[in-house]
């Protein structure tokens, strides 16, 4: 709750030299905070990916021993055999890290922080102090989650959705003990971080735009970040309430989530009166918007990257905004489709089903708009563009299976099988990771002032997309045959023996994907120090961030903040000298930024801008 006056008083004091602590550690500069989020997210992502490789090895070779496991995970891998309890812990923490730490904080935290002030034309976030707190809550949360890997009994093992009773009864399974408590602590810290960030993003977008930056001139990235922040702001509090009740159930003897059936199975404990289904409702009220918290920023980044690199205006700008809003609103009323088999009233199920299937409409609008933007464009196939196109591909192939799963009748068959795993890893996992990669390659010059290696980027892209499809596509068939997810090994069931080879294939593809990420990590970290110096506007882009100096400075622009005279997508405008007209260039005779631009910029204007920009 920082007041702008105190903030400005503070800024006056900060006039002097920044020391190491205030510049790199407790920085209040949004660009530095974006880098902090990104690097923390990359570290967490690496951990999460390594975990997936360990449990993929187990699934492919359930009868083999891997002596090196004992070296990595100690007694959990005794004699090279993965402990079944630790398998559950791995899938839980893999899911938690990927969903919350990489694709929520790592994606939204990085790009909202970097791009919102730069693209709307603001000196910094509305409250830089809260922004700093947001990162440090996130950091604490990550630290707590990592620490939970080392406690007695292992980390939380109830799946990333932490359904009770496994999460509510500390003695249920080894991972229900201290590890689960720390998971909840980490989550509460994470929610605090998300709320601090979200409040800031919304206030900045609504209230701190530069002269002329109307809502209908905002780049689509900003629209996506705005709606993402609103979704987070309205859904994370519900998880907070749910976690609070869970903490009380675990530690203080209440029974909000414990029913007669659970009490009976837990050895006749006297704790009844609640219902595990209550937690599922509270969890999925967050959980479903969370899917779009992950996906929308990726879609926003893609819109920007595809338009820039097709050298064409984005197709259907207003339809894009409308579909972002529609997806945002619909995402709040469909959480029940995760719970079709909980004994829900079939009529209620059909209501949730209707809402779910309607989401296909705005999603299809977005997809076709991307395709129409690409159509006959002058494509510049930079790594960022490749990843953006990859996102569109995953959005289609993963989105189509969403229509199957959204159908209540089909979901009874497919629920909790590998079909679900395949679906969300394609549409939410791979698509969002590709959006994030696209953003990293596109805005790396803005983040670090240097360019990444393009060849390495292309190799990274091709290996990643091939391995992602090889990993997740076969899973559809396993799911249709009824192979359940989260099982330590499927060898006990004769009918699943046909998938032995397929499991091996998937694991080999996953290892290939892992190796591909090493190329990215090398490229990313080496380019920070050794990359080619970035030019002012490397992609000839229209948005405001490329008018700010390459060298970061506190306050973003050395002089006055540029005014905005047009929308962000004036690419290849007929009659213009250049194939792009940055947002801050007025048309001939246009003096008031609020006026709609009608003609073309004065020729000299365009050339001077091109010079300034080049």
């Amino acid at each position: 709750m920082s007041d702008h006056n105190t903030h400005h008083n503070h800024e006056e004091h900060e006039h002097h030299e920044d020391n190491f602590i205030s510049k790199y550690v407790f920085s209040m500069d949004h660009k530095m905070i974006a880098r902090q989020f990104l690097i923390t997210g990359i570290i967490m992502g690496t951990i999460g990916m390594l975990m997936s490789l360990i449990f993929r090895l187990q699934l492919a070779y359930p009868n083999m021993t891997f002596p090196f496991l004992e070296g990595i995970i100690g007694h959990w891998g005794k004699d090279g055999k993965l402990d079944p309890n630790f398998y559950l812990a791995l899938i839980t923490i893999h899911g938690t890290i990927m969903v919350f730490y990489v694709l929520t904080a790592g994606l939204s935290g990085t790009f909202s922080n970097l791009l919102i002030p730069l693209q709307v034309g603001a000196r910094d976030m509305a409250s830089p102090f809260m922004n700093m707190l947001s990162y440090w809550f996130f950091f604490l949360s990550s630290a707590v989650l990592i620490i939970s890997l080392f406690v007695d009994g292992g980390p939380a093992s109830a799946g990333w959705t932490v359904y009770p009773p496994l999460s509510a009864l500390p003695k249920a399974i080894p991972g229900s003990g201290t590890g689960m408590t720390l998971w909840l602590v980490a989550m509460v810290l994470f929610i605090a971080s998300a709320l601090l960030g979200g409040i800031n993003y919304i206030a900045t977008v609504l209230n701190m735009r530069t002269m002329g930056m109307k809502m209908t001139r905002l780049p689509l990235t900003i629209w996506a970040f705005l709606v993402t922040a609103i979704l987070g702001l309205l859904s994370f509090p519900v998880l907070l309430g749910g976690s609070l009740l869970l903490i009380f159930d675990r530690s203080f003897g209440t029974s909000f989530y414990l029913s007669e059936i659970v009490a009976e199975f837990a050895g006749g404990i006297e704790r009844t009166g609640g219902s595990p289904i209550l937690f599922q409702h509270l969890f999925w009220f967050l959980g479903h918007p969370e899917v779009y918290i992950i996906l929308l920023p990726a879609l926003g980044i893609t819109s920007e990257v595809i338009a820039t690199n097709s050298r064409k205006p984005i197709f259907g700008y207003r339809a894009m905004i409308g579909s972002i809003l529609a997806i945002g609103i619909l995402s709040f009323i469909v959480w029940g489709h995760h719970m079709f088999i909980t004994g829900m009233n079939p009529f209620l199920g059909s209501v949730f089903m209707l809402g779910t299937l309607i989401i296909a409409v705005p999603s299809a609008v977005k997809t076709f708009n991307y395709l129409a933007t690409l159509w006959k464009g002058n494509l510049k196939l930079t790594p960022a563009m490749m990843f953006a196109i990859g996102l569109v591909s995953f959005f289609i192939s993963g989105g189509l299976t969403g229509i199957y799963l959204g159908n209540a009748a089909l979901d009874i068959e497919l629920h909790d099988t590998y079909f679900v795993v395949a679906h969300f890893h394609l549409v939410m996992g791979s698509a969002a990771i590709f959006g994030m990669m696209s953003g990293i390659y596109h805005w790396y010059p803005k983040l670090f002032g240097r360019m990444m290696n393009e060849t390495a980027g292309h190799i990274h892209f091709w290996l990643t997309i091939i391995s992602a499809y090889c990993v997740f596509f076969p899973m559809h068939f396993m799911g249709l045959a009824g192979v359940p997810r989260r099982y330590y090994a499927n060898t006990a069931y004769d009918q699943f023996n046909v998938f032995v080879d397929m499991n091996e294939f998937i694991t080999i593809a996953a290892i290939l994907g892992g190796v591909a990420q090493l190329i990215f990590l090398g490229n990313f970290f080496i380019s920070i120090y050794k990359g080619k110096r970035a030019p002012q506007n490397p992609w000839n882009s229209n948005t405001l961030e490329w008018t700010a100096p390459v060298e970061h400075l506190h306050g973003n622009w050395p002089g006055e903040i540029p005014h905005v005279y047009r929308w962000a997508y004036d690419y290849s405008k007929p009659g213009a000298e250049e194939d792009f007209i940055p947002q801050n260039i007025p048309d001939a005779g246009q003096t008031d930024p609020m006026e709609e631009s009608t003609g073309l910029p004065v020729a000299s204007h365009a050339t001077t801008s091109a010079h300034a920009v080049a």
């Binding site: 702008h4 800024e11 609504l206 735009r209 109307k214 702001l233 209440t254 009166g273």
Partner: protein, 250 residues
């Protein structure tokens, strides 16, 4: 690297078209925070509704109407009369019927009504403080802020007394002599979470009050901070209306 340009542009001017809400970003952030906090309370109240709905309604208490005296064994008495049973949600009128310094008389919901009145009254004084702030009347702002703080503190005191009485009769997070155990657990969670908000509000109000006395806002030329804590205070008040309705009346 860090040449600071922020200080050159001290005054922020709005330039992005029509301002969506015509408020400063500080106030906008408070509104956004309150919106999100409303969802936190909603989640708890929905949990309440979910669990409450899984029990049968309170047993109508006509039997107790003529019974106007509350002895020390009132709870036992009600259990024997079959009004506090495991299958039925207890009637709040029978649970919350005590009043400080008055013993032995059945006063259904009198005390919680007094608490509600105190909290709403403190909202009134908060409005007066905000209004005085618009007129830059420092002494009046200070006076009404002080009254608001007293009201908030009095509410917290009342809540402490009510919790004390409730616990004294045997209610715990894990057990409840009035019937279903979730009744007591939900009471502690929901009113506790609200009480925590009131407590934070009182702390904020004290900070703002001290700033008013020190003349901080006089120097600044506006009392917007008073308005912002005022928003928070009204929100806490509004939430109480819902808590009161859900927990005591329904």
């Amino acid at each position: 690297m860090a040449t600071n340009t922020l200080s050159t542009e001290k005054k922020f001017t709005w330039g992005g078209g029509k301002s969506p809400f015509s408020v400063s970003y500080g106030k906008l952030m408070m509104w956004i925070f309150l919106l999100s906090d409303a969802f936190t309370f909603s989640s708890l109240l929905i949990a309440y509704g979910f669990i409450r709905h899984s029990y049968q309604s309170p047993i109508p208490n006509e039997i107790v109407k003529p019974l106007s005296d509350v002895g020390h064994n009132f709870v036992e008495h009600m259990q024997q009369a079959g009004l506090f049973v495991q299958e039925n949600w207890p009637s709040p009128e029978l649970v919350f019927n005590h009043f400080p310094f008055i013993h032995g008389i059945h006063l259904p919901l009198f005390f919680v009504s007094l608490m509600t009145f105190i909290l709403i009254f403190s909202s009134v004084t908060m409005v007066l403080a905000v209004e005085a702030g618009h007129r830059m009347a420092k002494d009046e702002v200070a006076k009404y802020m002080l009254l608001t703080i007293i009201g908030g503190a009095a509410f917290l005191g009342c809540q402490a007394w009510e919790w004390n009485t409730f616990i004294g009769e045997g209610a715990r997070l894990y057990s409840n002599p009035f019937g279903p155990r979730s009744f007591a657990a939900l009471f502690f969670i929901v009113t506790g979470f609200h009480g925590f908000h009131v407590f934070s509000g009182v702390v904020l109000n004290v900070i703002i009050y001290l700033n008013v006395l020190a003349g901080t806002y006089e120097k600044r030329g506006h009392y917007e901070m008073v308005e912002k804590v005022g928003l928070y205070w009204h929100f806490v008040d509004l939430v109480w209306v819902f808590v009161f309705t859900f927990y005591y009346l329904l």
